[in-house]
């Protein structure tokens, strides 16, 4: 659902769900970016309940503001567990934890500690750690070297927008919020695009891809694969694509073309 931040935060926090935000970034055929040649295929696992988004700020004295970043062992453990299990389930081979533990020794240090403990349980998956700034430097030089990445909240937010940019922008970026008790909420990463309301110009790809993630989560892989094939084919042909990626089709026209391809 494309909802405002407040609504999403409320849903996520009150139900104690959405502790891991999954944001895959995969190069899309037909959407050419400077990074299409080497190809991007990475997944970001972002801790989604705490960190810098705890909303705890206070003005100590006028002109001095303190903002609290909260890292707990439990939340770090949850996202690490999810990341490794996801990697195992999806045949991904490498996980790298992104952090700034050189500066934030205790908080990011605790996050890394949990990642290491979980990594020990998955010897088949290679685990390493990288400074967030090094990752930024390296990913824009060669994104093909990045597979699954796990990190606290703020870094995940920033870095996943970076990876969305590598594949062509937020109009194509899906995401899923995983919660305890099996609750999963899938949503496009982009905003509400108020300037495009009721003009049928919005690009539904991000939401559609999110829906496909949901189908896979529900075990409906065959359906998801079929739809995904049709979507990628339509994007590759570029005959019926929306304005944000350089086409002239409306949202319904794009969807109709995908349906045509599904029917065969």
């Amino acid at each position: 659902a494309v909802v405002s931040t407040q609504v999403r935060e409320a849903v996520v926090s009150t139900q104690s769900t959405g502790y891991a935000n999954v944001r895959p970034a995969k190069s899309v055929p037909g959407v050419i970016t400077p990074y299409s040649a080497e190809g991007v295929d990475c997944v970001i696992m972002r801790e989604n309940t705490e960190g810098e988004y705890s909303g705890i700020e206070h003005t100590v004295v006028p002109g001095v503001v303190q903002s609290v970043k909260l890292i707990t062992r439990e939340a770090s453990r949850n996202v690490a567990e999810y990341a490794f299990q996801y990697a195992k389930d999806h045949g991904r081979k490498n996980i790298v934890a992104l952090h700034k533990a050189n500066i934030m020794k205790m908080s990011d240090g605790m996050f890394l500690e949990q990642c290491r403990e979980v990594a020990a349980k998955y010897p088949e998956i290679s685990y390493r750690e990288m400074y967030l700034d090094s990752a930024c430097l390296k990913i824009v030089s060669d994104p093909s070297k990045f597979d699954v990445m796990v990190m606290p909240n703020l870094y995940g937010d920033i870095f996943s927008d970076l990876t969305a940019g590598l594949i062509g922008g937020l109009g194509l970026a899906p995401s899923g919020n995983m919660g305890k008790d099996g609750i999963a909420i899938y949503e496009a990463v982009h905003g509400t695009a108020d300037d495009l309301v009721e003009q049928n110009k919005g690009n539904p790809t991000a939401l559609l891809m999110s829906a496909l993630m949901m189908l896979r989560h529900m075990g409906l892989k065959t359906h998801a694969d079929k739809i995904e094939g049709a979507v990628l084919e339509t994007l590759k042909e570029r005959k019926f694509v929306t304005g944000d990626i350089g086409g002239t089709a409306t949202n319904p026209e794009y969807a109709a073309e995908i349906c045509r391809k599904i029917k065969g």
Partner: protein, 365 residues
């Protein structure tokens, strides 16, 4: 209108560098200026060697006070304090990165805090000779370097729960904003973008943003805009040419300057300058020690040498500085002598020799 100059101490603005260099004390003996050189850890000593070799060949009137600060030495508290004293005395330094020591002190952060080197400036400009995903980039990332997320104030309030404090003050935010606008004006730049996440961190980044806006009103000839940091990272990989001068708090500055350095060729080619009230420190823009390659002489010395060249210009040795910058750029753009990071296999020393050869060539022109 408010008297910003008096309040934030930017007196005697040097036309080229926007900071008070005229009034700064200089250590000069027999016509030579003494500057502090801290090679640091990892490949730092090899890069420092490039600079000292080149400066010697060029016979620049600069004397290095070399301070060896690495993980081993830092176990002795005195070594670090001595380095600080040296920088305070000399007012100018050239520095590599010090690897985090085993205890909880973070030396690189302490340097900046202790010396109040508050403004880190990284200019990322595309090199014709380096194959990158984007071309035509020329942006300047200005980062507040003494507070924000790097306040190193953390505690475990209950077992398993850690609180890390990010501090934003009006004083330091106004100071960096003023620095950024002054810098933009002195270098004829057209636009300053404030990078923030005030939609989430409403009070802290909100304060930073408000300060930038307030300062922008005193510079009507410079365009001012604001952008949320996640969007900035996205925009940097889609359309980096849109950026001019960017001003931001500590952590975002770290990420953006590394990202931008990656876009133009990497940590090996981007220099940086950092300024405090009476001090200037020059070091590579993306601060990494590359410990695995220590002693192997594979690192690209360009960033360190360019930082050294900017230091020469800061010392008013413009001719020497300019010719060194020209030599380094020519070698990089020609693309014949390339270190590993640029796709070649030349060693640090081979790159240094290439710079020296180019300097000779320029002199005979």
């Amino acid at each position: 209108s408010r008297c910003i100059n008096a309040e934030y101490g930017s007196s005697g603005i040097n036309a080229e560098y926007g900071v008070s260099t005229a009034a700064a004390p200089r250590t000069k003996y027999g016509g030579k200026t003494t500057v502090t050189l801290i090679p640091g850890d990892g490949v730092g000593p090899e890069l420092a060697e490039s600079v000292t070799t080149i400066f010697k060949e060029m016979a620049v009137p600069v004397e290095f006070e070399m301070i060896d600060l690495n993980r081993e030495q830092l176990k002795d508290e005195g070594a670090f304090d001595y380095a600080i004293k040296s920088l305070k005395r000399n007012g100018v330094g050239l520095k590599g990165v010090i690897n985090r020591s085993a205890d909880f002190r973070h030396h690189n952060v302490e340097f900046r805090g202790n010396l109040d080197v508050y403004a880190n400036v990284v200019r990322c400009m595309s090199f014709e000779g380096i194959k990158t995903h984007h071309t035509g980039i020329d942006l300047i990332a200005i980062r507040e370097n003494t507070e924000g997320e790097y306040s190193c104030l953390e505690h475990e309030s209950v077992p398993g729960v850690v609180e890390s404090l990010k501090i934003i003050t009006r004083e330091k935010s106004m100071r960096i904003a003023k620095f950024a606008f002054d810098y933009a004006r002195e270098h004829n730049r057209k636009k300053v973008t404030c990078i923030h996440k005030a939609n989430i961190m409403k009070q802290s980044d909100g304060l930073f943003k408000a300060c930038c806006k307030e300062v922008s009103e005193d510079y009507p000839m410079i365009k001012y805009e604001e952008q949320i940091v996640d969007n900035t990272c996205q925009q940097l990989v889609i359309n980096p040419q849109q950026f001019d001068v960017m001003v931001m708090p500590n952590l975002y500055g770290n990420l953006v300057s590394n990202l931008a350095a990656g876009l133009v060729g990497g940590a090996g080619v981007v220099p940086s300058k950092s300024y405090g009230e009476n001090i200037a420190v020059f070091e590579p823009g993306a601060r990494h020690t590359w410990m695995e390659m220590k002693g192997m002489y594979v690192a690209n010395p360009s960033a360190m040498v360019l930082s050294g060249a900017f230091m020469l210009k800061h010392l008013q040795l413009h001719e020497a500085g300019d010719v060194l910058i020209k030599a380094v750029k020519r070698v990089i753009n020609r693309g014949e002598v390339r270190s590993r990071d640029l796709g070649g296999s030349c060693t640090t020393r081979e790159m240094t020799r290439a710079f020296l050869a180019e300097l000779d060539a320029i002199h005979s022109e």
